[in-house]
């Protein structure tokens, strides 16, 4: 095993030799090396988070036909670092009457719930922090911690607006967990495994988005609602409840809420890429190089790994771009519209899609028509849904037009 062949295991092996040469026990060495690896991954994730603040501000500026930060450093790249330094040296004002313990734990919990999601994100075929065999269940569970952080922040702030924002946000997040988990079950049905590594390895044949496009759409919409991004961002509806649950937070605590929201968006962009768009799979790239039919363009191990990491990052950025695009193009919807959209449209649709996917998967798996059949069943379901929506909207418009007809007045002379 050389450095260029498999760099992570090479460094781990070298470190293990060094540490055991110093007399550390074998178990303790393993723990120490794992801790080092975890630290490196978390630091990379947080540096990525800082870069994402810059991306977010530049993109929102361009959507709004302005430049965004371009003074601090070239193209404003140093701006997020300046922001972090500013947030750290700002005074930490705790409102009177706030529940101190819960108030202080909430931003830490918000950041923790996002960082632990990076444990299951497959960055390359040989780079994954923990290969859990129940990774999708872990994803749902870790996402629920973020909800807890928001209600803790809203409740302990001793502020009406924070409490209102927290209530609405929690109603939002728990409602959209149902279509999200059901949409997560679709890759599980198709691939037969809950581990993200298994799902990504399955996609060397065909990406799951071609087998279940409706599941990808439903997962994206539910993920955007789970993140609390617009158009579902009732927790920070600036024009309504002035910053919602983080209204009483200053300095780095507010910084952690903001940074964790962005990192959460990117992580969900990563999960959309991994679950539906193949993650680190590059078309025609196997472990030893590109396979064009029968000819093989052999590539070293490190080049393959770098290509896979690049593929993962590009797809995650595209997922994150779609989430940002939706945020900056659409107005915020009301809480009752949001809940009605979930319980009256998304949940029945996702459950119907689950039923159809399960039956079609069972019927078509041994045949040659698997891909075509699954794709067509999704398209037919989407078409039926749009027809139903059209009829319902038509009927509603007729009712409203009838109500607006001018009342015929009998004029007495």
């Amino acid at each position: 095993m050389t450095f260029w062949g498999d760099p992570i295991n090479f460094i781990a092996g070298w470190l293990r030799n060094v540490l055991m040469g110093w007399g550390m026990g074998s178990a303790l060495t393993n723990v120490f090396i794992s801790l080092l690896g975890i630290l490196v991954l978390v630091v990379v994730a947080l540096v990525l988070d800082i870069f994402l603040v810059w991306v977010e501000r530049k993109v929102v500026a361009r959507f709004q036909d302005r430049f965004g930060p371009n003074r601090v450093g070239p193209f404003g790249l140093i701006q997020p670092f300046a922001d972090i330094i500013k947030l750290i040296i700002k005074e930490d004002i705790t409102p009177e009457g706030a529940d101190k313990v819960v108030y202080n734990i909430a931003p830490v919990l918000a950041a923790t719930s996002v960082i632990i999601l990076w444990a299951i994100l497959p960055i390359a075929s040989t780079i994954i922090a923990v290969d859990l065999n129940v990774a999708l269940l872990y994803l749902v569970a870790a996402g629920a911690l973020g909800t807890l952080a928001i209600i803790m922040a809203g409740w302990s702030s001793n502020n009406k607006y924070a409490l209102l924002g927290a209530f609405r946000m929690v109603a939002n997040m728990i409602s959209y967990e149902v279509p999200m988990v059901v949409a997560l079950l679709i890759p599980v049905i198709i691939t037969g495994t809950m581990s993200v590594k298994g799902i990504t390895e399955y996609q060397s044949g065909i990406w799951i988005v071609f087998l279940a496009p409706l599941a990808a759409v439903i997962f994206t919409i539910s993920a955007i609602a789970e993140l609390g991004r617009a158009p579902f961002d009732l927790n920070e509806a600036e024009s309504e409840i002035v910053s919602g649950f983080n209204i009483e937070y200053t300095g780095m605590k507010f910084g952690w809420f903001y940074a964790s929201e962005l990192l959460h968006s990117f992580t969900f962009g990563g999960f959309i890429a991994v679950l539906f768009f193949g993650g680190w799979q590059v078309p025609l790239l196997m472990a030893d190089g590109f396979h064009f039919g029968s000819s093989v363009v052999a590539l070293g191990g490190i080049v393959v790994t770098l290509l896979q990491v690049a593929s993962f990052l590009v797809k995650s950025m595209i997922g994150y771009w779609i989430i940002m695009w939706v945020k900056y193009s659409m107005p915020r919807i009301r809480i009752d519209q949001m809940l009605a959209f979930n319980w009256k449209f998304l949940t029945p649709l996702s459950l119907g899609m689950l039923i159809i996917t399960a039956i079609m998967d069972k019927l078509l798996a041994p045949t040659n028509f698997y891909v075509l059949g699954m794709f067509l069943s999704n398209v037919i379901l989407a078409w039926i849904t749009i027809e139903i929506l059209r009829k319902v909207g038509h009927r509603q418009r007729k009712v409203e037009e009838a109500a607006l007809q001018p009342v015929v007045e009998v004029v007495h002379h």
Partner: protein, 118 residues
């Protein structure tokens, strides 16, 4: 040590320590000059009116109940979805029947008006 959950535990410890670090730096570096006006509760620049722990709208509770039913359903659907390719067709249809029973519960809640906002 080969247990994956041990590494998840390590990850959790690191993920708790790392957000606390800037907060500690901030506590050490930032000025601390509290005064009653700064510490008063924010309400758009005016004095607060009424108790800050306002009444809890009961409809949130109803939505949480409906969510609870569907969350438990999805927990039961996970093993069904995992082993779908190894099971015969009638087991798939049994799972579909389970989903349909719960969908009829959703339709019942819808018709009873539990999903309205008011």
């Amino acid at each position: 040590m080969q247990n994956a959950w041990f590494y998840i535990g390590l990850f959790l410890i690191v993920a708790i320590v790392i957000p606390v670090a800037p907060l500690l730096i901030s506590w050490w570096v930032a000025p601390k000059k509290p005064n009653p006006i700064k510490k008063s509760t924010y309400e758009c620049g005016i004095e607060t009116v009424g108790d800050s722990w306002i009444q809890f709208k009961a409809q949130y509770y109803v939505f949480a109940l409906v969510y609870l039913v569907f969350d438990v359903e999805t927990v039961f659907l996970f093993p069904w979805a995992l082993t779908l390719d190894k099971l015969p067709l009638f087991v798939v249809l049994e799972g579909v029947l389970f989903i349909l029973i719960l969908v009829s519960g959703l339709v019942y809640a819808w018709r009873k008006g539990m999903l309205e906002w008011m």
